[in-house]
């Protein structure tokens, strides 16, 4: 038997409780734990800390197989554990593409072998992410990886008929299509948000409508075929409005926002530093404010990192040649604390919903996102919300260094992450006795 006693921490509901973990499960939550196993438990001092259920990321690029120079399942899992995540969802745009049962099972097993967080593979919607032929969605769903989320992320499923069929087809195993909403004809060679800044910089614009038109279309399609749609990385004020409208109509749509779109704006491109180049692009302050409001009122269901590692040479070049994407697993919770909690837009209980409960529900990850309650799997993140840290690209656990937050001081230091009663990240944890 292994036992941990998390002592003196504050739960998301702002009550101070001790938490006893025996083996893989939370066995007691009380002001003063009485169980006999507490005596022999390893004590984790959580004073000054918030104790959250393990975070769940619905949008992660782990790059394995194929681009192990930028990330592997193992290194991405380390980054996840360090950021307080106990589950990640590996996007399908690997080499080869995760469009067969074989590839998703490989990724799933690599995750299990690493053992630092649950790795749930996302299957491609179409073969090779090409948007033409459906991939073998059923085979991936019934594989050992039990895939339920399908996405061509990186590419948009732009053909309306292909999207319709995908939405219909996944109903048989309660799947969901996670759409990367980007009309390709409106974004040929697009480099950054289209607006005042792009007009000045001479970088080809990426209009908000390219995203919003697909969101609107797919919401109507999902309604028509009565299926489930998830919108990846929403970035525009208009997109938030459309999703709000859809939810008011009872349409089965969920949406995510990334930490970087909650904090950063398109004027960062004036540095021409490709670390700020991302797909979809950073937008304006007006969009950022609408995203925060949408996340707070539940229009946007979850925060997802879109952790996108790239090797140095893909970013150490002029903007136009650089790769799109930013890493984000290790800074996600801190950015959410700064933009949403410290700004009083959201409570910690809402953070638990947006970063743990809701993403697990959308992904169908039944052993994740269960909250801090007796009998739940002991997936736990302990964060010192009063401490600050400075992001340093040279000190990340990820294999890549493309963090747009380098040099920024952010609140919230993850001191311990636990997956089913096993410590996966140990920051400044101090064992008081035992």
């Amino acid at each position: 038997m292994s036992a941990y006693l998390i002592s003196g921490g504050t739960l998301a509901d702002n009550t101070q409780k001790d938490i006893l973990i025996v083996d893989e499960v939370i066995s007691e939550i009380a002001t003063k734990v009485v169980s006999a196993s507490a005596a022999s438990a390893v004590v984790i001092d959580a004073r000054d800390c918030i104790v959250l259920p393990g975070l769940v990321d619905l949008h992660t690029h782990l790059r394995e197989p194929g681009r192990e120079d930028s990330e592997t399942v193992a290194s991405g899992s380390r980054a996840a554990a360090r950021g307080g995540f106990t589950a990640v969802s590996a996007m399908a745009n690997t080499f080869p593409v995760a469009d067969t049962a074989g590839v998703v099972e490989q990724v799933y097993r690599l995750g299990q072998a690493t053992g630092l967080c649950d790795v749930f593979p996302i299957g491609a919607v179409t073969q090779g992410l090409l948007g033409k032929q459906l991939a073998e969605l059923g085979a991936m769903a019934s594989s050992a990886a039990r895939v339920r989320v399908f996405s061509d992320d990186g590419n948009c499923v732009s053909d309306a008929m292909v999207m319709r069929r995908a939405l219909e087809y996944v109903k048989q195993f309660s799947g969901v299509i996670a759409q990367h909403a980007q009309d390709p004809t409106l974004t040929v060679d697009a480099q950054m948000n289209e607006g005042v800044i792009s007009s000045r910089l001479g970088l080809k614009g990426w209009p908000a409508v390219a995203e919003e038109a697909i969101i609107a279309r797919d919401i109507l399609l999902a309604d028509h075929v009565q299926s489930r749609l998830h919108i990846c990385h929403l970035t525009t004020a208009g997109g938030v409005e459309i999703v709000r409208w859809a939810k008011a109509r009872g349409i089965n749509v969920t949406a995510e926002v990334t930490p970087h779109h909650l904090l950063l704006t398109d004027d960062l491109a004036t540095s021409y530093d490709p670390v700020f180049k991302v797909n979809p692009p950073l937008r304006t302050l007006k969009d950022v404010m609408a995203l925060r409001e949408g996340l707070a009122d539940g229009t946007i269901d979850i925060v997802a990192t879109d952790h996108a590692p790239h090797p140095t040479e893909s970013k150490e070049c002029e903007w136009q040649s650089a790769a799109f994407g930013m890493i984000g697993l290790e800074s996600a919770l801190s950015v959410v604390q700064q933009t949403m909690v410290d700004s009083s837009l959201m409570t910690w209980e809402q953070v638990v919903d947006r970063m743990s409960v809701a993403p697990a529900r959308i992904g169908g990850y039944s052993n994740q996102g269960q909250g801090i309650r007796v009998g739940a799997a002991a997936n736990i993140t302990i964060v010192n919300s009063k401490k600050k840290w400075r992001v340093d690209k040279d000190l990340v656990a990820s294999r890549s260094r493309n963090t747009p937050f380098h040099g920024m001081e952010l609140p919230g230091v993850v001191i311990c992450t636990m997956l089913r009663g096993k410590i996966t990240f140990d920051g400044q944890m101090r064992a008081v006795n035992g």
Partner: protein, 321 residues
């Protein structure tokens, strides 16, 4: 000033100082010995990673008239246009002891990127970066306007300048809007809405879709090159229709004020944005723009590399020698 990357970075005083210095440099070019010893022993690299003949030659002539050693580095094709190679190129040039790099590149921001990279200590001069800026073109345009319409001194206060055509893809237009307005001119952009960027309303210029209405007000008319391949991207229906609404032709020429000048950064599409008779008319200063380009580029190289030594006396010493 260490670099010349964009007009946005230039102050009013710096812009005027370049034009005034160019005025002195023009005297060198008009003299019997077209050469100053100022940059003797300095190495300048023409790094042209995108096709350009006239701008490269202009910079080369400017550098040589200042007695600098000029190395031409021209490369087309995919491997050099990629960033990793640009980094390697920068390191190579740095290792060779280059004092200044003049860069032309298809990527917007490449000059800025090179200047701010840790691999380059020398001066960087932007000779056109993607669809961003082309600052020396704007400076030579301002110099030309000033010479013809403002007595060759001071700023461009009150001048009305029309820039016509593909503003969206034009680095010349971006630099000119910033510089001409900085120097007091009123700039009007005349183009179909498809060839104006979203966000143009934030620029220090007004916008018009009606060429004929604007022409009579203009002191200087700047025609931009329209690339034929734009037609395939739905920017306008046919080249015929474009020429009809936004081309400079004989009829429009008659609408121009008496002393107004016609400009074009080149190379021209005769018959598309400008007819031959307009390009070759007495109003046209297009060939003179090329000449002024050398003086302006001499001024830029001089100010960046020779520092603040008194230019007028240096020129006098040479011209009177």
């Amino acid at each position: 000033m260490k670099h010349l990357l964009s007009i946005e970075d230039l102050s009013y005083e710096e812009a005027l100082s370049i034009l005034d210095t160019a005025h002195e440099m023009a005297r060198v070019s008009d003299g019997p010995v077209k050469k100053l010893p100022t940059l003797r022993g300095r190495t300048i690299v023409n790094l042209f990673l995108e096709d350009s003949t006239r701008t490269r030659i202009s910079f080369e002539a400017a550098a040589k008239r200042l007695s600098a050693d000029v190395i031409n580095f021209a490369a087309k094709g995919s491997s050099v246009s990629k960033g990793e190679s640009l980094k390697d190129t920068a390191q190579t040039l740095q290792a060779m002891g280059t004092d200044a790099v003049i860069i032309r590149h298809s990527a917007s921001g490449s000059a800025h990127w090179l200047a701010h990279s840790p691999w380059m200590n020398g001066s960087v001069i932007n000779a056109g970066d993607g669809t961003h800026e082309h600052p020396t073109q704007a400076l030579l345009d301002a110099f030309t306007i000033r010479k013809h319409l403002c007595g060759g001194a001071g700023d461009l206060g009150g001048m009305n300048v029309g820039i016509v055509g593909d503003v969206l893809h034009s680095r010349v237009a971006r630099s000119n809007v910033l510089l001409l307005s900085k120097l007091g001119a009123n700039v009007v952009l005349i183009a179909p809405p498809t060839l104006l960027p979203v966000g143009v309303e934030s620029w220090p210029a007004t916008v018009s879709y009606d060429f004929n209405r604007e022409i009579p007000k203009l002191d200087a008319l700047m025609m931009l090159r329209v690339q034929q391949e734009r037609m395939n991207d739905y920017f306008f229906p046919t080249s015929r229709e474009y020429a009809q609404y936004f081309g400079l032709n004989r009829d429009r020429l008659t609408l121009l004020k008496q002393n107004s000048i016609i400009m074009h950064p080149g190379p021209m599409n005769r018959g598309l944005e400008i007819t031959a008779e307009c390009a070759d008319s007495a109003r046209s200063v297009i060939v003179e723009q090329v000449k002024n380009g050398v003086s302006v580029r001499m001024a830029v190289l001089y100010l960046l590399l020779a520092g603040s030594s008194e230019i007028a006396s240096a020129v006098n010493a040479e011209v009177n020698a």
